[in-house]
């Protein structure tokens, strides 16, 4: 019970100190931030050890029979090489490990971008045009909606076009009129999207603030009454 109260008080004061940033940057806020970075790093280190290294590397190397162990020797060696990154002189020894990390990471990103986003969004953009089985006048509404969204998507894509005209080999920085027009329309759609997202971010942040203030009230209430 006493420990619960202690933890609650810690949370209470931490909340107050962080919210003091509203009045400007101050020493207490900086102190809390540093403590926070330290604690989160400590917690992350523990979790990495217990949830990544122990079950995926150390335990198999210690428990598995030799033939199966060989599979884990490669990441073990690469992991050890990665430790050399701590030494400025020997850090080059860790490059192969970083290369593997980067290569696989890039492949995952490419796969996700092509099959997930690109194809997924193309499919999503054209799906409203599937009018089969749409009753009555709904098809007109759906078609109109589909056209607006498709047009908006195309214009937004066109806005990002990078190429520009050249004159006597000099970059004029200007684009063809068609792209300029499409880009202008695209800007409107992009601005609408960013505005909606901004409102969403504000809403989420406000919810967090409300929850914190409610917590402060809940801590103070019993003390007051």
């Amino acid at each position: 019970m006493a420990t619960d109260l202690l933890w609650t008080l810690i949370a209470f004061f931490l909340t107050i100190l962080v919210l003091s940033y509203v009045l400007g940057d101050n020493a207490l806020f900086r102190f809390v931030m540093m403590v926070f970075v330290g604690i989160s790093a400590g917690y992350a280190a523990v979790l990495i050890y217990f949830q990544v290294l122990l079950p995926r590397l150390i335990s198999p190397l210690l428990t598995l029979p030799t033939p199966e162990k060989t599979v884990y020797i490669i990441p073990a060696v690469l992991g050890i090489l990665l430790l050399f990154k701590l030494s400025p002189r020997l850090s080059a020894l860790g490059n192969p490990s970083m290369a593997l990390l980067t290569g696989v990471g890039a492949a995952v990103a490419i796969g996700g971008a092509v099959t997930g986003t690109l194809f997924g969004q193309i499919n999503g953009a054209i799906s409203p045009f599937n009018l089969a089985g749409v009753q009555g006048g709904n098809w007109a509404t759906q078609l109109l909606g589909g056209i607006v969204l498709l047009g908006g998507t195309i214009c937004s894509l066109a806005y990002f076009h990078f190429g520009a005209r050249t004159k006597d080999g000099e970059n004029t920085g200007s684009q063809p009129v068609l792209i300029q027009i499409l880009g202008r329309i695209g800007q409107v759609f992009i601005a609408i999207t960013l505005g909606a997202l901004f409102a969403g971010v504000l809403s989420a942040a406000l919810a967090a603030l409300i929850e914190r203030l409610a917590f402060l009230i809940n801590v103070i209430k019993p003390l007051v009454s």
Binding site: V22, G24, Q51, P55, T115, T117, A196
Partner: protein, 723 residues
């Protein structure tokens, strides 16, 4: 460049200080704080150089066109005008006829302007591109802050493009200053006076000083050119006899010093100075020699006295650039006049600091050299009765501590004003974008504080009172309806469903998401569903536990220990999800406690993710949701993917909802409230915050509207003013 060391106590004072804030002694020997003219007067002569302007400046233009030597120094004191004897005015008028007016001077071609950019060749190409004079956009606004004379110069004619001027110049200065630079040709006027000392100065780093000169002292030089002229004229036209007023120690110097041949600059000179500076004009070639030689020796001596040669670079930079020494040059002139004794109104108190500095000890402590009385008889001591002895006590008692000299350049008011001008000129160039001045940042801080306090105050009131006036949403978005229906269908099934809950939100948003998810998890628990939690972030396992504890408290019949398993943290993000989609038992083999998870009662017999009845994703992160959709959804074609998202991620997830990749979604407090409305949940968690939330959102919207209107109108007014 921003502090002056007190020569008496060594205390660092601000550049504006006239007296030391520590010892309260006067910082400048040659400036009397009381008699120093106000800044406006200092600027008058600058107004005189406008090509156009108000009546006063128009009058001044006339003056400059036919230089009335007596009138030009009115920059320092207009009253001197009346003191000049009539005969002297006549002589000056005659002199002015021989001399071309500054306006008529041939202008120097831009090529002639030396570009002192030593390190330029080392700079990367694109920095040179920047230097090619494309002026940062926001520089127009700061122009409003520029001094009057500089803006008036902007209107000047025969101005070559900025690019024509040295890149260094165009890089640092905006247009008006670049145009100001065109006044350079008029400098040669006072060259013999100005350049001779400069050419021999052994300053640690003369080149940057010349950069500064190129930039800022243009009108200043022009001023000096005109100021120095009458002095030269006087010293030429009047009999050169030693002045009785002049201190003795000056006289031998005058005879000893050898005048340097200014009309034939030495190679070393030409290295340091542009050629045009050595163009001799009939008017001053010979005449200027005398004051020049005075300046030469005295300035040299004064510098050696204050040890200027030994100044470290930093310190010399901290001091003022060479061009600011022109005031000393002016003072040399005045010292010449002092010898000639032609200007009775020049007070001895105006003797410049460097002149004080080079005085011999006698000058500093005059009593020291007391006259020796030959007939004096020693009254006391072992030499009592002897005659003509040197008085010892004189030296002992009258000895004074040698004066302390500041290592920093001593600056006059005028110099300080130019320095401040120079600083303001380059201030806006030291950063790209709108200059964030002190005032605006303070206003911003005040705005931030007041908005924060108002918002927090309003929310606290709403939370404490909790009036329940905010109406619950009756219009429910279709994706929320689908979410609700899916939950109802699965929980109503004969066999309790097994749900994979992906917890993918940061502690930062747990306030929002745990509040929304609480009701949903409670519904699953009410349907006795099996819940397997897996998390993509480090804090996930702890947050899952917290969420289960919160929801479980509301459903006492639910056996948490049997029906819930926490698979913990899934490292590797999207790659881990891909692995999870292929073989879940391999990707997340154990629970957070280290117990093999897939042999547990809950997950027994499961081989793939499609064995789960539904996947519920609690997320605040668009990218990770994308990863779930891209990596996991294809592996569980038929299994519904339900998303409880933060309001910040919802708009970005809508495309996936529309494309059917997300089956159902509730997002933010609004979605949570809508879901509670659908489930008719009594005292739902979102409902508790609903008043504060709705009030807060509307308050923020109001703030935004008012702010946009105010700043929008201000922009319109500013534009119309510009137009």
């Amino acid at each position: 460049m921003s502090e002056i060391i007190c020569p008496f106590c060594g205390f660092a004072n601000s550049i504006e200080a006239l007296t030391c804030s520590n010892c309260k002694k006067q910082l400048y020997d040659d400036v009397d704080p009381d008699s120093s003219p106000p800044a406006r007067d200092e600027m008058d002569w600058l107004n005189d150089f406008r090509g156009f302007g108000d009546e006063r400046s128009a009058g001044a233009d006339k003056k400059t066109e036919s230089i009335q030597p007596g009138e030009i120094p009115s920059s320092t004191d207009a009253d001197e005008e009346s003191d000049i004897p009539e005969w002297l005015v006549r002589i000056r008028a005659l002199k002015s006829e021989d001399r071309p007016a500054p306006g008529e001077n041939e202008t120097v071609e831009p090529e002639e302007i030396p570009a002192y950019t030593p390190g330029e060749s080392e700079l990367p190409d694109w920095i040179k591109e920047i230097k090619e004079g494309d002026v940062p956009a926001p520089l127009e606004e700061p122009a409003g802050d520029l001094p009057e004379w500089l803006r008036s110069m902007a209107g000047g004619e025969e101005v070559p493009p900025v690019d024509d001027i040295s890149p260094d110049l165009s890089m640092i200065m905006d247009e008006p200053v670049a145009e100001g630079g065109i006044q350079l040709p008029e400098i040669p006027y006072d060259l013999p006076v100005e350049t001779a000392p400069d050419s021999d100065l052994d300053t640690p780093n003369p080149i940057p000083a010349y950069d500064a000169e190129d930039l800022v002292d243009i009108p200043d030089d022009l001023f000096e050119a005109i100021v120095s002229q009458p002095e030269v004229a006087e010293s030429e036209s009047l009999p050169d006899e030693p002045s009785t007023d002049a201190p003795e120690w000056l006289e031998p110097k005058k005879t000893e010093t050898v005048p340097p041949d200014i009309s034939e600059p030495t190679p070393s000179d030409s290295n340091q100075l542009p050629d045009w500076m050595f163009e001799p004009t009939e008017a001053d070639a010979g005449t200027a020699a005398e004051p020049a030689e005075l300046d030469f020796s005295t300035l040299d001596a004064s510098l050696s006295a204050i040890g200027a040669e030994n100044l470290p670079a930093g310190q010399s930079e901290a001091g003022l650039p060479d061009w600011l020494l022109e005031d000393e040059a002016g003072n040399f002139g005045s010292s010449a006049e002092t010898q000639a004794g032609e200007t009775p109104n020049l007070e001895i108190g105006q003797m410049p600091g460097w002149l004080h500095a080079m005085r011999p000890l006698e000058a500093a402590a005059p009593d020291l050299a007391a006259p020796i009385d030959e007939n004096r008889i020693e009254p006391t001591g072992p030499l009592a009765g002897y005659q003509g002895l040197l008085p010892g006590e004189g030296v002992v008692t009258q000895y004074t501590r040698p004066p302390v000299y500041s290592g920093n350049t001593q600056v006059t008011d005028k110099q300080r004003i130019y320095a401040t001008l120079f600083e303001t000129l380059i201030a806006d160039e030291t950063r790209v974008g709108a200059a964030a001045d002190e005032k605006s940042s303070t206003l911003q801080l005040v705005l931030r504080m007041s908005v924060g306090l108002i918002l927090i105050g309003a929310l606290l009131i709403a939370l404490i009172i909790n009036p329940g006036v905010a109406p619950s949403p009756n219009l429910v978005p279709p994706e929320a309806v689908v979410f609700y229906e899916t939950v109802q269908t699965l929980t109503a099934a004969a066999t309790p469903p097994r749900i994979l809950v992906g917890l993918d939100y940061e502690p930062a948003l747990s306030g929002e998401l745990s509040t929304i998810a609480n009701t949903v998890i409670q519904d699953w628990m009410t349907g006795n569903s099996g819940l397997a939690f897996v998390s993509l972030n480090l804090s996930g396992p702890a947050l899952s536990q917290e969420l289960v504890n919160l929801a479980g408290a509301s459903v006492p019949t639910y056996l948490t220990a049997e029906r819930v398993i926490n698979l913990g943290y899934l490292p590797g993000g999207a790659t881990a999800l891909a692995a999870l989609a292929v073989d879940p038992s391999r990707a997340a083999p154990a629970s957070v406690d280290g117990i093999p998870a897939w042999n547990s009662l809950l997950l027994q017999g499961m081989v793939s993710l499609s064995d789960f009845d539904a996947i519920v994703l609690l997320t605040d992160n668009t990218e990770n949701t994308r990863a779930w959709i891209e990596q996991v959804k294809p592996a569980v074609e038929e299994t519904p993917l339900l998303v409880v998202s933060s309001a910040q991620a919802a708009p970005a997830l809508m495309p996936y909802v529309q494309s059917g990749q997300i089956t159902g979604m509730i997002s933010g407090f609004t979605g949570g409230a809508a879901y509670e409305q659908l489930t008719q949940a009594q005292n739902g968690t979102v409902r508790g915050y609903w008043d504060a939330y709705q009030g807060g959102m509307l308050l923020i919207a109001a703030f935004m509207l008012v702010g946009s209107l105010i700043y929008g109108l201000m922009n319109l007014v500013r534009r119309s003013k510009k137009a």
